[in-house]
């Protein structure tokens, strides 16, 4: 393990699984198995609007290893959304490097980026972002459609992912027929279905009540226990405390990076 990162082997008070029992996972990464799957090196991002320049990220260094559960925590305007966009390959750096699975993302073109997002990242958004006209399983299979998976195979994998999040009986329900918590679980299933390198969750509980919040966070704990790498962006301490490592961001810089002892 890289000493830069926090030790992922720490007791999580919520998860009932032992971290030492992490199953090996068939990652399709070109990276050295020992190296970090996500690596930001002196990453800077400056937004230019007319003559006004705003430095959203001031050269941060961050390494996340396979199987980690990391919360990126900070108040609004701290730069955590920028980090999320960079990690999700939705935006590009103005300086520094972002290496995902050993590949320098800055060198990829738009089509390659689309493929990286498809294969390596599973998004969970605050606003769920489900397509309201489609039943749950159709929403879940969407990443597989762009991943050239055959139709029957997609349906099978989508059902399995929905079963995994506890919605095996709601395959054909449209988002409008489900509660917010259920919709977010559909979104988690969609993030899972493509077996991505990491699940990237942006304020996943921001629109949920406390019961649904607990449901979704428990789901994350379980997924992490199964070996999933999870990066969670939030401004709520309670949510961040469910992670095993908390990265505190303020004014575009990392101010603290600690193992969650809670």
């Amino acid at each position: 393990m890289n000493p830069v990162s926090a030790n992922p082997v720490s007791a999580n008070p919520v998860s009932t699984h032992s971290v030492a029992a992490l199953p090996s996972h068939p990652w399709t990464l070109e990276a050295d198995a020992a190296g970090p799957v996500i690596e930001l090196i002196d990453a800077g991002k400056t937004y230019t609007s007319g003559t006004i320049e705003f430095e959203a990220l001031k050269g941060i260094n961050l390494a996340i290893h396979e199987g980690e559960y990391v919360a990126i925590m900070g108040p609004s305007g701290s730069g955590k959304s920028t980090i999320m966009n960079i990690l999700g390959c939705l935006d590009t750096l103005t300086r520094g490097q972002y290496r995902l699975g050993g590949t320098d993302v800055e060198e990829l073109d738009e089509i390659e980026l689309a493929s990286v997002r498809n294969q390596q990242i599973g998004f969970v958004f605050q606003g769920f972002n489900l397509l309201s006209s489609m039943p749950a399983w159709r929403n879940v299979e969407l990443p597989l459609v762009y991943g050239h998976v055959p139709r029957e195979e997609r349906r099978k994998r989508a059902s399995r992912a929905l079963e995994r999040v506890g919605l095996g009986d709601r395959l054909d329900n449209k988002p409008g027929e489900m509660s917010g918590g259920q919709q977010q679980r559909v979104a988690v299933a969609r993030a899972l279905v493509g077996e991505p390198t990491m699940i990237l969750a942006d304020e996943p509980t921001g629109n949920l009540d406390s019961v649904s919040t607990r449901d979704v966070l428990t789901l994350f704990d379980e997924l992490n226990a199964l070996g999933r790498t999870i990066v969670l962006i939030t401004h709520e301490l309670e949510v961040a405390q469910r992670a095993r490592r908390i990265v505190w961001v303020k004014d575009g810089a990392i101010v603290r990076d600690e193992v969650n002892a809670a």
């Binding site: 939705l90 689309a114 493929s115 998004f123 972002n129 397509l131 489609m134 459609v145």
Partner: protein, 410 residues
């Protein structure tokens, strides 16, 4: 993403906004139907006109008084001066001088009032020869045409058009009745079968008398020997051109004119009339088709409008699809197929409605509409192309959306 997947996604989008899609399709539909109908109406009218002109008689040459086109293109007194006489017609009848001309029918037409009992009716009284029926291809419904003997004797006999008989007597079989024309009593010997009307006159409202009778009793004076038109029938199709040459040479010689440019008569063929008349309708068809084409263009702009709405409405969806791994080309293809579906549906429905209208309308408006398979095929093709062309811009805009901006939009 396979083509099938793209198509399924696009179809779902079209289907989920059924009303909006229908209205967009309607725009294309109207344009396509209008193009098919105007082209069909134009072609139909051209056919009608040439059929009417053909009904004048076959292998026909028409000799009219007046000079032909001068070098400036102005026509000098066409049909007004009395430069043709019955002598010209008699000369043209000669089988020696004009062997390729099989029939000659001179006409001297005067508008006169006819009286039968107490009924008055003004019609065109035409003096002609016995060859008239065969040259003009007319048949008789009742009685018979006047004979050569009656013609030679300047007998007071008349053959009436069916409509003229109707107007004067209220019935058509009026053989044996008397009609007073210019204070002279004529006996009706025959009634012509109905022929309809050509582009300039009603062929059923006529009164035909022997030429000599007309010359002496009805016209009189210096113009009594003048004829307004001489109809010549060539012995066959292939002899038409020879007949034209013979008639031209003979008349120039008779009128002592050395140059064709100075001719005081004009010979035109049926073909020339047909092409003149159809040229007019062709221009009209092109003009109307242009107008219909404009409505198609408006329909196309409708497609673009709806596609732009569809893109901005689904900005979030586009952002999401991109975040999930849709490359720009997949997004572009999805919207292009959507536009093509709208265009194609409009094209096919428009073609169906256009063809149905073309088949049913003639019964109502009385004018033929020809369904041209080329016009139908072309307009469906044009509809798809319109969908694609007007879909390119919205689709490219969708493909270029940055995923974060798209995801953030409300």
């Amino acid at each position: 993403m396979t083509w099938m997947e793209s198509f399924r996604t696009s179809w779902a989008a079209v289907y989920s906004h059924a009303l909006r899609s229908m209205l967009t399709i309607l725009g294309i539909l109207i344009g396509i139907a209008a193009v098919i109908l105007t082209v069909g109406l134009g072609l139909g009218t051209q056919l009608d006109v040439s059929a009417q002109i053909s009904s004048l008689g076959s292998n026909l040459l028409i000799v009219a008084p007046g000079s032909s086109t001068s070098t400036t293109g102005a026509r000098g007194g066409f049909g007004t001066s009395a430069t043709l006489t019955i002598t010209d017609a008699e000369a043209l009848s000669s089988t020696v001088n004009a062997p390729d001309i099989s029939g000659v029918a001179p006409e001297s037409a005067t508008s006169l009032s006819l009286t039968a009992n107490d009924t008055n009716w003004t019609t065109t009284v035409t003096g002609t020869t016995t060859a008239w029926t065969s040259v003009r291809q007319r048949t008789l419904a009742h009685g018979s045409f006047f004979t050569q003997a009656q013609a030679d004797a300047s007998a007071a006999v008349v053959v009436l058009g069916s409509e003229t008989a109707d107007e004067l007597f209220g019935t058509q079989n009026v053989v044996g009745q008397s009609v007073v024309i210019s204070d002279k009593t004529f006996q009706v010997v025959g009634v012509l079968a109905t022929a309809g009307s050509d582009s300039s006159s009603n062929l059923d409202d006529v009164a035909i008398v022997p030429f000599n009778t007309a010359a002496t009793d009805l016209v009189g004076g210096t113009s009594s020997n003048a004829v307004s038109t001489i109809y010549l029938q060539a012995a066959s199709d292939t002899q038409l051109s020879a007949a034209y040459q013979e008639a031209d040479a003979l008349l120039l010689n008779l009128h002592s004119i050395s140059s064709t440019d100075d001719a005081d008569f004009t010979i035109s063929s049926q073909d020339a009339l047909v092409s003149t008349a159809t040229a007019v309708y062709q221009t009209l068809t092109i003009l109307l088709t242009g107008v219909a084409g404009l409505s198609l263009l408006v329909g196309g702009i409708g497609v673009m409008n709806i596609m732009l709405v569809s893109v901005s409405e689904r900005t979030r969806e586009i952002g999401l699809r991109k975040a999930l791994g849709a490359p720009p080309w997949a997004i572009r293809r999805q919207f292009l197929i959507e536009a093509a579906i709208l265009g194609l549906s409009g094209g096919i429905l428009g073609a169906v409605i256009g063809v149905v209208a073309a088949l049913t309308l003639p019964a109502v408006i009385g004018s033929s509409i020809v369904v041209s398979p080329l016009a139908v095929g072309l307009s469906i093709g044009v509809a798809i192309i319109i969908g694609l062309v007007f879909g390119v811009y919205p689709a490219t805009r969708a493909a270029k959306l940055a995923p974060i901006d798209a995801l953030r939009s409300e």
